[in-house]
Symmetry: C2
Subunit: 174 residues, 2 copies
């Protein structure tokens, strides 16, 4: 996953410190990624060790958690362009834990599966309710709007399948 | 990802050695997971170190690559049931590298993005062409058939979105 590159893109857009980058990530990519905010700090460390970003200042914060502001290096700017221009990124395999569980389940597991699928349906519905996101006026919103479409399309398909699969297991278990 | 548990389930079904487990995984879960066959060996090592499987025999092979046959331990059988009965598995976030790239792309990257999306469309079509899989007659095929439905539903939704996103970027870049 290219979280590292996304963080690099945020820093290149405007220098910033960890928490601020998390907020801008959310704003740009949306809730579908379910970013764990703490994942941004290792990404920044990795980028700094690789010479792609550098810490340029400290902006407030506390002694225990100083707000270190990052900016891209020339190598970082180049790496970002390479990532954005890549045409050979592999497509994502269709991997889901629940598919494995379903593939190996026996009849006595069907009730537990139905319960799990119901939980996933709720999670998908909750996430779907957060779309469409408001997009700032006057900016190029092509990218973020297409990402929203991707997430909404996928969630709707997932919900259709989840309902069908849950009904199958409920019938079998009943 | 619970590849480890899937391998445990295969071993519990019938003792087996690495390559044979890979074949049975493919047969049970299908091509959607795009399992890298070499991933099975670290999973077996991890299961053995955790006391969930044990190597019980050697069946042919060569000195350089002996075929070590694995069987589940009692702890492995328990762990498998726990996994199959779990109702609290987290739902999968909607994460795709290409979404990140799209979220951060500027106009000059749109042509490269259109090319990448076309590649992904071909990959999705190729994978979709491998469904539905033939399922062995006389066995309970509920699980594997539902996994097929999940993959097909997701691929169709992905193809619809890919075509729309590609058209957007082609128009912008043209």
């Amino acid at each position: 996953m290219s979280l590292k590159h996304a963080v690099l893109a945020l820093v290149a857009e405007r220098r910033g410190y960890g928490y601020e980058l998390v907020q801008r990530f959310e704003e740009r990519v949306g809730p579908g990624w379910q970013l764990n905010p703490s994942a941004v700090y290792p990404a920044l460390d990795q980028l700094e060790r690789g010479g792609l970003v550098t810490s340029v200042a400290r902006r407030g914060g506390t002694n225990r958690s100083p707000r270190i502001v990052y900016a891209p290096t020339d190598a970082g700017t180049d790496a970002l362009e390479t990532w954005l221009c890549a045409t050979d990124a592999p497509s994502e395999p269709v991997r889901a834990d629940v598919h494995l569980r379903i593939a190996f389940a026996r009849r006595e597991h069907h009730l537990a599966l139905a319960t799990q699928l119901a939980t996933q349906e709720r999670a998908c519905s909750d996430l779907l309710a957060r779309y469409p996101r408001p997009h700032g006026a006057g900016r190029d919103t092509t990218g973020p709007a297409l990402v929203d479409d991707a997430v909404v399309t996928r969630l709707r398909a997932e919900l259709a399948w989840l309902a069908q699969a849950r009904a199958t297991f409920e019938r079998d278990a009943g």
